[in-house]
Symmetry: C2
DNA sequence: CCTACCGATCGGTAGG
DNA sequence: CCTACCGATCGGTAGG
């Protein structure tokens, strides 16, 4: 219904209805974008809850209000859809981290507070609202191709690059005693593992988690 | 072939061939035990590499040298086989930890060295030879029933119970600054995550990992 | 994007 | 434990 209406509206010259602003995309493209996004969102939720192999493309279609064959109009394969989920998740994570760094004026903070900022933001990405994308990326890596994996690794490097100087500085000042490379891997382990046990409805808040992490890694008190 | 030979041997009175020792089980039971173990071992490997949903019971049968329907002679269902993998992994882990504690005379060690012992042993269980069981248990929890999950939780509590007094002591002495409960979750996260990146063939050894973990958590130097 | 469909594969079972 | 098989489901496609 909505589509039919939109199509009819598109027959009217655009200028008659939208005199200002730059030209919009055609209706078809707009719809396609929405449907595509809806598929990705639903797939993220399902992949997280039931795993990639445990989710059928029919499940995903139903979640997006489509018929069983329709996802393949938008994505070449189920695997391509998985990759889209992961890629979008990583792009979003990189973006949010950049924003958090910029908003806090991170270079003015001392290293312990820099780490706090990064950890807190990481928990947000991992456990905050709409946080299915990164867990899928973390736990379904097995199901993508080597080429796709390489593309994601680049985004991951970008994300992790922001942590490196902070950890180096903490190591140099003696606050972080462990080897920096292994410390980074273990820190991400400690944080990423939280998706296994964190329950938004009870117990600790993201602030509590952040504080515990800081205390654990660099003995930083509240 | 082997089976046929064994069956023929069984027709000979046991006393004629084994004059001493307590009576053995019948050949059928012995074989069943071997086949069962072989299925569990192969399933552990496959579940780890391809995931529970990505592994077919035919794969598992082939890995054990059986025909496609035969695993169901030994296990009620694919899920029961998964549970068997997890349960055996946890029982083995609990056993090994108890042995490590006894062998080291842990109560004579000071808390930092107690933690070192537990961490080192945990890495061994997680990353040492034949270490597919625990990763499967950690990453395929989604695919077992609530009842099975409860049974494993008990074993897990037993395993974790050994860590609690150590962490408490470290907290009391100021070495561990973080909240003990959250610290425990994050420590296990840091350790368990290593199955995602650790490569036995290169870089760090299990001793290196242990040292890095100790440095990170309680600032303990080499 | 839907309809209708395909070949392949899956977990599991009966009967021996 | 094998043989032979079942119904269900799966990812994906042609044609509109």
């Amino acid at each position: 219904m909505q589509t039919a209406t939109a199509r009819r509206a598109a027959a009217v010259p655009a200028a008659a209805k939208r005199p200002r602003g730059r030209p919009r995309k055609t209706v078809d493209e707009r719809d396609d974008g929405n449907r595509r996004r809806k598929l990705i969102l639903g797939a993220a939720r399902l992949f997280r809850r039931k795993g990639f192999d445990g989710t059928s493309t029919r499940d995903i279609a139903a979640a997006a209000g489509m018929q069983s064959g329709s996802p393949f109009y938008h994505f070449e394969s189920k695997q391509a859809l998985l990759f889209a989920v992961m890629e979008q998740g990583m792009r979003h994570a990189v973006e949010r981290q950049e924003q958090a760094i910029a908003a806090a004026g991170m270079d003015r903070l001392r290293p312990p507070e820099q780490l706090r900022l990064l950890v807190r933001n990481h928990f947000e990405i991992l456990l905050g609202p709409g946080s299915d994308f990164i867990p899928v990326m973390l736990y379904e890596a097995r199901s993508i191709t080597a080429r796709q994996h390489a593309a994601l690794s680049e985004l991951r490097s970008t994300y992790e690059a922001a942590w490196e100087p902070v950890l180096q500085a903490l190591h140099a000042s003696g606050r972080l005693k462990a080897d920096v490379k292994l410390a980074r891997l273990m820190i991400f382990g400690a944080l990423n593992w939280s998706v296994q046990w964190f329950d938004r409805r009870k117990e600790a808040s993201l602030d509590d988690l952040t504080q515990a992490a800081l205390s654990l890694f660099i003995g930083e008190k509240a």
